[in-house]
């Protein structure tokens, strides 16, 4: 659901076309845009599941403050995807609790 044309802002200017791997599947993105934006554009809404209630979470503040959109990026947990620029080949995984799915947490 990208906004390619806009009545005020005109045509969108985007970075180079790149590919991310999200939970094992390729996702098209534009270099430099926040990871969360590429995910939303490709229809992803659930970014992680919480520790206690295992509840789904997604983008909430989009400013890097609330930390709801954290995911595992290139093996590192708790990365705020709404303020982390996408780079070609990044490997992104949903976070379960404080880490990857296997970990009991």
């Amino acid at each position: 659901m990208r906004i390619d044309d806009h009545p005020i802002l005109g045509k969108a200017e985007r970075g180079r076309s790149i590919t991310l791997t999200v939970d094992g599947s390729p996702v098209e993105a534009f270099e430099g845009e926040p990871i969360a934006v590429a995910l939303m554009a490709s229809g992803h809404r659930v970014f992680r599941y919480t520790t206690k209630q295992k509840g789904p979470r997604g983008v909430f503040c989009a400013l890097g403050r609330c930390t709801d959109c954290i995911m595992i990026v290139d093996g590192q947990a708790n990365v705020r995807t709404c303020v982390t620029p996408a780079r070609d080949g990044m490997v992104i995984e949903k976070q379960f609790g404080r880490g990857p799915r296997e970990e009991k947490g």
Binding site: T50, T51, K52, Q53, G55, R57, F60, C61, G64, R65, C66, T67, D68, I70, N78, R80
Partner: protein, 93 residues
Amino acid sequence: MKVDDLIICRCEEVTEGEIKEAIRLGLTTMSEVKWLTRAGMGLCQGKTCGRLVMSILVRETNQPPDEVKPPTFRPPTRVMALGALANGEKETE
């Protein structure tokens, strides 16, 4: 869903019931509630839930709102990886 089951602190998944329980134990300040319940101690450090906790505290303790101050703020103000401070020019307190 009961009001007490409502999540107030999104990071630490602290419910309204848990916060009210802490207040029933006699806690009256934001800092005390934070330490006991962990509301506001998660990754976002209370940036999202702070005002909600404050309003519950005001309501449950009948304090005037201008007597419920935010908890003490300490560095860092944003998420920092452990070791970032050690990478600096010198240690800070």
